[in-house]
């Protein structure tokens, strides 16, 4: 029976929201990172991960390029760079 709309979380992979980016994306320089964890904390997508210094990175499959991580990083170790445009065939 296709019944009520009920979903188990393990079955849900989410949308490829990384495809939303049109202008810029964060680049994690991993040079001066002090592992303050702020970028991981404030990402609305929860797609930044990392543990030790200079280990933080984002999952570009989900990252929407909002730029909050670059704004919050106290060491300016995350910079927004241009999103690569469609390659000419």
């Amino acid at each position: 029976m296709f019944g009520p709309l009920i979903v188990k979380p393990q079955k849900s992979k989410g949308d490829n929201t990384g495809a939303w980016r049109v202008q810029s994306k964060p680049s994690f320089l991993q040079k001066n990172c002090i592992a303050c964890n702020m970028c991981l904390l404030i990402c609305p997508e929860h797609c930044i991960s990392g543990k030790e210094k200079n280990s933080y990175h984002t999952d570009y499959h989900y990252c929407k390029g909002c730029g909050l991580c670059a704004k919050i990083c106290p060491k300016a170790d995350i910079v927004m760079v241009d999103e690569p445009q469609q390659e000419k065939k």
Binding site: S12, K13, G14, L68
Partner: protein, 293 residues
């Protein structure tokens, strides 16, 4: 229980969504032993579009106005099963679903004393349906149903004092927080969940789309609301003001000029004065100004 994500990426919130940050802080502070009851709104729509769900905890959505009542039912069932002490119940909604259409159910839940944490994500309008004015929309805000025009400078009514309304029910804990201070959200949620009885937390969450600001300014805008005194961060315990975030007040223009929804005010010194008055009244009422030695 494997270490699973309680709030997963791949949801369809706008880039830079303040509510998404706050909602994640709430559930991560609450932990996996939590059942969430969600009203209709942005959060519900962008996290659970069949067959996707961003929630790693048990989660239910019913209607627009009844999360407090559905949560009351969940809490009663847990009590019946003898499981209430080990499971948190959180009812969450937007500002419209709390202060307007959801006020009745919320009031009933608070009055009956259920052991539920109610979280209101206050983005100051009905954002999900297109930025319409709600009871928590501040004075002079430009929304689609309180638009700025030659005969109007926006919303003509002040914000409904929801924390005070919640407090008037005699509940043990009422607090306000802000997406600009994510650790503050976590601290307050953890504190609330350690108290038995009904709790109310209202979190100010900027909406880049509705407030008309850049997606990377969400946290700054939220902080400015607090730093100007327009959104006091306070905690009430058992009816008395127990804590507040003290500020060195910034002039309200600094907050207003970053947002498109207030830009009409920058040309109107009279209206600016009124907004500054609101901020000054808050600062006085709660004693927000940092005392200089």
């Amino acid at each position: 229980m494997e270490n699973r994500l309680l709030y997963k990426p791949g949801h369809t919130a706008c880039a830079g969504c303040g509510q998404s940050i706050a909602a994640r802080m709430v559930i991560e502070a609450a932990g996996p032993n939590t059942i969430i009851v969600n009203n209709t709104g942005c959060l519900e729509v962008f996290t659970t579009r069949f067959p996707e769900s961003a929630w790693g905890v048990p989660w239910i959505h019913s209607l627009f106005e009844n999360c407090a009542a559905v949560a009351s039912g969940v809490e009663a069932a847990l009590r019946y099963l003898g499981k209430k002490d080990s499971i948190n119940v959180i009812a969450q909604a937007g500002d419209g679903g709390t202060a307007d259409i959801g006020l009745q159910a919320l009031s009933g839940m608070l009055e009956r004393g259920h052991d539920i944490l109610y979280v209101c994500y206050d983005n100051e309008a009905y954002m999900n349906t297109g930025i319409q004015r709600s009871g928590l929309t501040p004075y002079d805000t430009n929304t689609t149903t309180s638009p700025v025009g030659s005969k109007s400078s926006g919303n003509i009514r002040p914000k409904k004092p929801m924390p005070e309304i919640a407090m008037a029910h005699g509940i043990p804990y009422v607090a306000t927080s802000s997406a600009g201070y994510p650790q503050d959200i976590q601290r307050k949620v953890k504190k609330a969940l350690s108290i038995k009885g009904p709790k109310y937390i209202q979190i100010h969450v900027p909406c880049p789309l509705g407030w008309r600001h850049e997606t990377n300014l969400t946290l700054e805008v939220a902080k400015l609301a607090v730093e100007t005194g327009l959104y006091p961060l306070i905690e009430y315990e058992n009816g008395t003001l127990a804590a507040k975030r003290q500020i060195v007040p910034k002039p309200v223009e600094e907050y207003l000029k970053v947002q498109g929804r207030f830009k009409h005010l920058l040309k109107s010194p009279e209206e600016l004065k009124k907004i500054q008055e609101i901020a000054d009244n808050n600062i006085k009422k709660y004693g927000l100004r940092v005392e200089t030695q």
